[in-house]
Symmetry: C2
Subunit: 410 residues, 2 copies
């Protein structure tokens, strides 16, 4: 008998029929003797509808009140799931973030979980109940309702699994696992049986929207055994996200990812004094701009060119900040481009393998794809290329073929 | 500067435009220097939609989970109203029943307020904020979410007014006050400037659905000055619900009411032994049947006939209980009729006036309306008459005319 945490997304609970389906699935685990904790998102579309309402106000609504509003979606889901389990004769108890005690920071709409109270969970599990907890939401020490930001239900599930020492945390989602690349962009993709937390983290932040990055971080930190599975085909095995030492077989490259929602910004002739770059990036950080890849060219005549990428929807904000800065600092010009995409290869084995980056550059060159920027980590190589002319798709297919990801399971 | 509690119903907050309208109205009180606590219902239709979802389950959902589900409606309203006040530059803070500390019994779906914590209210009022509290909902000492039953938002408003010692509690509703009779049924009705708590209580339980009876009870108990006003024509004075000693002018009869959702049940030849009636009414109470008027005919041959009324939607349940009982007790027959209505006259001055009931019977007789049952209280006389042939409407108009209620304001 194991303790299993399962998370079901919005499409899995979008109406009563789907909720009943989820209840049946939970029943099969229950019948096998497992203790179950379930996390659910808001029914599909509910959160968007609530957000639409707030757009009718003149001012941006207070984030505190946004959280009061948005947290209702998950509260609907937990009640409906408890009712569906009741239909099947399975005792259960729903809990809001507040009721369970998912204690968070007070950063409304992007709160972080500080800790989770487990006394109520233990009590109800001991009483033989399935516990249903609202994802995405928490509460501060002062009793303020908070939300964790979009995709936060994944984080709730993993954090609850970590807090309760669960044997497994299953994330049920629209896809049946993690693939070597997005099947909508690349042919002959393969589902991975296993992937490391680090690889998943890189993929999550590279635009493979399978798991919320924060949830993977928490899973890694607390050694939570995580599984990504299909909420439609529940009999299918998904992908396990594991520690590197739990991998059955390690691959140099396990995935190709692409993020088309990026923009490139260049600053020319920035004065090459200590602290110049700091000033630039501090100003961007103060304005909540997420800077990703940063490339600084070789120094010439005490002047510097700096290029970096930002999320596409933050480029206007970033440019505004930089133009204000231009009046106070020495720089000749600021340029930007939204005709860029980031393709990346990811693999835990890269750290102990050589020539991977070189091979990537060579593949892109052979396909006449120009590399504008490069950034590498221990398990990832990313290149900025042009977005137009279907170049990202071409690049991904070429890389997928060259690294033989179609043969990864064979 | 006064402390005013206002309650807005579901139609007042049914969409963002209406919510903005409410915010403007609150602003006018704010500008006049008043401290404000606002209670809101769920947006019109939301609660019904949630209830519809629960009808798709096979079993009756656990009441605990119904409360988790239903309490989301008011949570949406409080957040939207806080956003609308934010648009107008008015600082406010929304509170769920849990956040404010509206402490109730654990009777889910029909909880009663035990007490209300006022420390947070005081703190936020001192900070110059408008307080917006979710109506209809509360929380138990164990942190379980409860609801107060339909119409419970009125109760929340009055209870909050009582707990904070507010100077006035205004209930904004679809009608602009309490009338001498339902204007849809009777001609020449008049709006009452004042009415006593007791009169309002009688009217509320007699089918004049202006205020929730429980809210009037609490107002009476704690001497809360209550006002019923129109949420559409906010400039119109409404009706004040006051203690009898605060009445400017007392009338013998202030209103005529009619309840068409009743049924009559008769038990013939019940054995006339001590405890017989108790057995009958205890069995009905155990089955949660609300028995209203009870008439016991004169004894003959140690046998008894008993007639009583129950709400129309409880008659099947009541008959089932009685037929079970018939096997255990001596009674000759059980009959029932749904072709009945209850017309009533209400007036605080009745207690010190004679001949009021006689006049009512005479008016009905003159109009050839047969009286099937009679029940009286200190400030009310009710008669059961036939429902068909528009008899209730005829009776109400005749009574309204005879007691000159059309001239009550003149």
């Amino acid at each position: 008998m194991a303790l299993i945490v399962q998370k079901y997304g919005g499409t899995s609970v979008k109406d009563v029929d789907r909720v009943k389906h989820v209840a049946q699935h939970i029943k099969s685990f229950r019948d096998a003797g497992h203790d179950m904790i379930i996390t659910v998102s808001a029914p599909s579309g509910v959160t968007d509808k609530l957000i639409d309402m707030t757009k009718k106000f003149d001012k941006r609504p207070p984030t505190r009140e946004m959280d009061v509003l948005l947290s209702t979606g998950e509260q609907i889901s937990i009640a409906l799931l408890a009712m569906a389990l009741n239909d099947l004769g399975i005792p259960s108890v729903s809990m809001t973030g507040s009721q369970m005690g998912i204690m968070t920071t007070d950063a409304h709409m992007k709160a972080r979980i500080n800790y989770i109270k487990t006394d109520k969970i233990r009590k109800e599990l001991d009483a033989g109940k399935v516990i249903i907890v609202a994802g995405f939401q928490g509460i501060t020490e002062e009793g303020e309702i908070t939300t964790l930001g979009r995709g936060g239900s994944d984080t709730t599930a993993v954090a609850v699994a970590a807090a309760t020492g669960a044997d497994l945390c299953e994330i049920y989602t629209d896809v049946d696992g993690v693939y070597t690349a997005d099947p909508r962009m690349v042919q002959n993709t393969q589902k991975l049986a296993m992937i490391t937390h680090d690889e998943m983290l890189e993929l999550a932040s590279l635009g493979a929207k399978v798991l919320h990055p924060r949830s993977v971080e928490i899973a890694k930190m607390h050694g939570v055994k995580l599984s990504v599975r299909s909420s439609y085909e529940t009999s299918k095995e998904g992908t396990f996200v594991v520690n590197r030492d739990q991998l059955e077989k390690e691959f140099v490259v396990t995935g190709v990812a692409c993020d088309q929602k990026v923009a490139k910004i260049g600053i020319f002739d920035l004065e090459d004094k200590p602290g110049s770059a700091t000033k630039v990036f501090q100003a961007l950080a103060d304005a909540n701009v997420n800077v990703d890849m940063i490339v600084q060219s070789a120094m010439r005549n005490n002047m510097n060119d700096i290029a970096f990428t930002v999320p596409l929807d933050e480029v206007d904000n970033a440019l505004e900040v930089l133009h204000e800065l231009k009046d106070k600092m020495s720089m000749s010009d600021i340029v930007s481009s939204t005709n860029v995409a980031k393709v990346s290869i990811v693999g835990a084995g890269m750290v102990s393998s050589t020539g991977v980056a070189a091979k990537m550059f060579s593949v892109l060159a052979q396909n006449e794809i120009n590399i504008q920027m490069i950034s590498t980590s221990e398990i990832k190589v990313s290149c900025i290329i042009e977005k137009e002319n279907d170049t990202p798709k071409k690049a991904m297919q070429a890389l997928h073929d060259a690294f033989e990801l179609d043969k990864i399971n064979g």
